[in-house]
Symmetry: C2
């Protein structure tokens, strides 16, 4: 009996695309047939300049510049999109589903905005839509939320969702570098792109928060629902103060379900060293979840890179192949079946770290304390360093839990207080402080 | 249209069983129908004493003492085995598959010995056989190996696979307790059973190594193939020496694929604090994998406990329900399709930690060095403490990599050397030492 052959088409042949191609071709030779019960081949790849890739692909792979070559080809079972960006990726994936093909995508920009439309269309067409690689690269989290951990009601999902910023913050913390120096080193070593905005301003992590929140809480949040702040305001000094209270500073992506809505945010946060996320260093990513049955779990790995991302994409392809062989594409339906209101971050309670420059004379503490007190902000800890320069001293305050809105009003008043030279930085504190 | 109802039968209603029942009943009320497109109910439970559980179950759940009540009932779609032990669990699960039911099991004792027979039978019957809870409780690892990470050729899988021993070792390390004290505390707090043998002697972790090795390397290893050592010989002193070189002592389960075979072991090992497994504390479990595409990934969570284990069992049940609804039970075939020879641990290269009591006089180092040298063991580091008692001193040696067989011969000779009072302890070192 001739073995069935499953045909895959790819859209894009950049870094991730060539990794996907390499992994599929490598597996094909030994294990893929065992794993899916069929031969699998990349039959077509949509690229702009076929001549550029001709030497990289095998004879059975046709390079094409024409999307119609793929979408109208009935022998293509699976379309793998690794081009990125919203358009034309959205059109291609929509057309592929409508043409009866299952789809696999690594495209967080697209899925963070139009993911639930694609989920709904896949359900309607009874096809698979898989996107493990769109969140934290090689770290398995999309399918574990849909499958292994499906028995849980989650209360929170929090993670280190961007490798570039984690590399920068780890270097600042370990080597005492300032932000600019650490960014320059990340660029030099290839961990930051020429234009690092999407990473250092938290946009990349924000997209992942939207996608993961939908999986954990079954809702239809989009990137715009996520409150996003980057790491550019973090200084070596903040790192030192954090260290002095047994904490680190990390850029966290956080989705919290409260009784009155979902709070979605990306921001730098102070975190106890004893938290499992605190020891995630360098360019690694991790995501930590809290559920009513599982208690706590964490998933750790490479959030980017050619082969790690390809690992996630090809894992999805293998699973779609199994569904094709078993005749059950679309077996996991739309996962975004609820509509949970978004609650603004300002309505959340947090602890805060505040670093001030204050006049170095008596009566200052009274004025500072008064500003906080009038807005119901109570102080848990105050760290005063020696005189910094000409009559001004550094003063760091850790607050108790307080609604962010109230805290912001205290900070506004503080900025105008006559004994306060400047509010140098404010950083949220995640979770409890070390004892 | 009436919604389809999927009927589950459970074997056993102990701690895990009652957790499974609780989680299914809790989910049923809101989310289960959304997730699987059907109603799901626990229709029957096999127990020894029905009267004991009557008050714990809903009216739709029938308690029975007769296995035939379940296996002959054609309306039962899924059998969930949470009784443990080899027999009668093996017979029940085999009969359930033959009767056309999919099975879910949390039974590591059984699966570490007869797992591949059940995999083969499930394949033959085209039914699902799921066992996420058998390895590391709530930590998702069985399905991620079969699905998310299926694109990888793995070289190693290493983990902290037993919560009781990790709790004991963490306490020894953090509080400076001896083994006996730490075990007593674990027993008092309910982290160790009245008879702790299976945990502290490494048997429990050894079963998980066999199961996970089969998933990572597609082979048919069984518990007897795993070299097993426990933690009873670890002392507070070893912990201190490990700490002095920036390491910790952990009970590791390790499956390594070498060119000439698979090495499977459970033993206490010295591990750099910078390794992600080093910060897995208390009763938590974690498993760390190395693959050719994913690079490194780690999965962390609760390895035991009523609700965490139930989380894994019910995650499997939900996925089987989806397969039933999509008509694709058995969609992931037998995963143990290769036969890789087992390579004895003695043929592996490791670094070693050796703690000796030696005579405190000149010429000793020459004799000790000679024993090692004659067997090709080269010394990387030597730590000598002051005189311990009456002419004897403590002497700790860290070796370079050497085949264990050769190292053992050196230790044999050392034990007889006239200036060596006693070989106090030998511990393998996992991975590289901190710089």
């Amino acid at each position: 009996m001739e073995q069935k052959k499953i045909k895959v088409a790819m859209i894009g042949m950049g870094t991730v695309g060539s990794g996907v191609y390499e992994v599929i071709e490598r597996l094909q030779k030994d294990k893929l047939a065992h794993k899916v019960g069929a031969a699998v081949e990349v039959a077509k790849i949509l690229v702009r300049s076929p001549e550029k890739y001709q030497s990289q692909v095998a004879a059975h792979t046709q390079l094409t510049t024409d999307w119609q070559d793929i979408v109208s080809d009935e022998s293509i079972d699976i379309v793998v999109e690794v081009m990125g960006g919203i358009e034309p990726a959205q059109t291609y994936l929509t057309e592929a589903l409508r043409a009866g093909k299952s789809i696999v995508s690594a495209n967080k920009d697209l899925i963070a905005v139009h993911g639930s439309e694609l989920e709904a269309l896949a359900k309607e067409m009874k096809k698979d839509f898989r996107y493990e690689a769109s969140c934290l690269g090689a770290v398995p989290i999309v399918q574990p939320l849909k499958e292994n951990m499906a028995a849980n009601n989650f209360s929170e999902l929090v993670g280190i969702m961007n490798g570039t910023t984690n590399f920068i913050l780890t270097n600042m913390s370990e080597k005492g570098l300032g932000f600019d120096e650490a960014l320059a080193e990340a660029t030099r070593l290839g961990y930051a792109e020429a234009d690092p905005t999407a990473d250092i301003e938290g946009l990349d992590a924000g997209r992942k928060v939207a996608i993961l929140a939908n999986l954990a809480f079954h809702t239809k949040a989009v990137f715009d629902d996520v409150h996003v702040e980057g790491i550019t305001k973090i200084s070596a000094l903040d790192m030192k103060y954090a260290d002095s209270i047994n904490c680190v500073v990390k850029l966290l992506g956080i989705a919290t379900k409260e009784e009155d809505g979902l709070v979605l945010g990306v921001y730098p946060a102070i975190l106890a060293k004893s938290h499992p996320l605190a020891s995630v260093g360098g360019s690694f990513n991790a995501v930590f979840v809290k559920g009513d049955a599982i208690d706590e779990a964490m998933f750790y790995g490479r959030g980017a890179g050619k082969l790690p991302t390809a690992s996630a994409v090809v894992g999805d392809v293998i699973d779609v192949c199994r569904d094709i062989m078993a005749g059950c594409e679309g077996r996991i339906g739309d996962y975004t079946y609820e509509a949970i209101p978004i609650k603004p971050l300002e309505k959340m309670e947090s602890r805060f770290y505040v670093r001030l420059l204050i006049a170095d004379h008596p009566g200052v503490l009274e004025e500072v304390g008064g500003c906080f007190g009038r807005h119901g902000v109570s102080i848990a800890q105050a760290l005063q360093k020696g005189s910094v320069h000409a009559g001004q001293a550094e003063f760091v305050i850790i607050t108790h839990e307080v609604m962010e809105e109230k805290f912001n009003k205290a900070i506004e008043e503080l900025a105008k207080a006559k004994s306060v030279g400047r509010v140098e930085n404010v950083i949220r504190i995640y979770g409890g402080l070390p004892q």
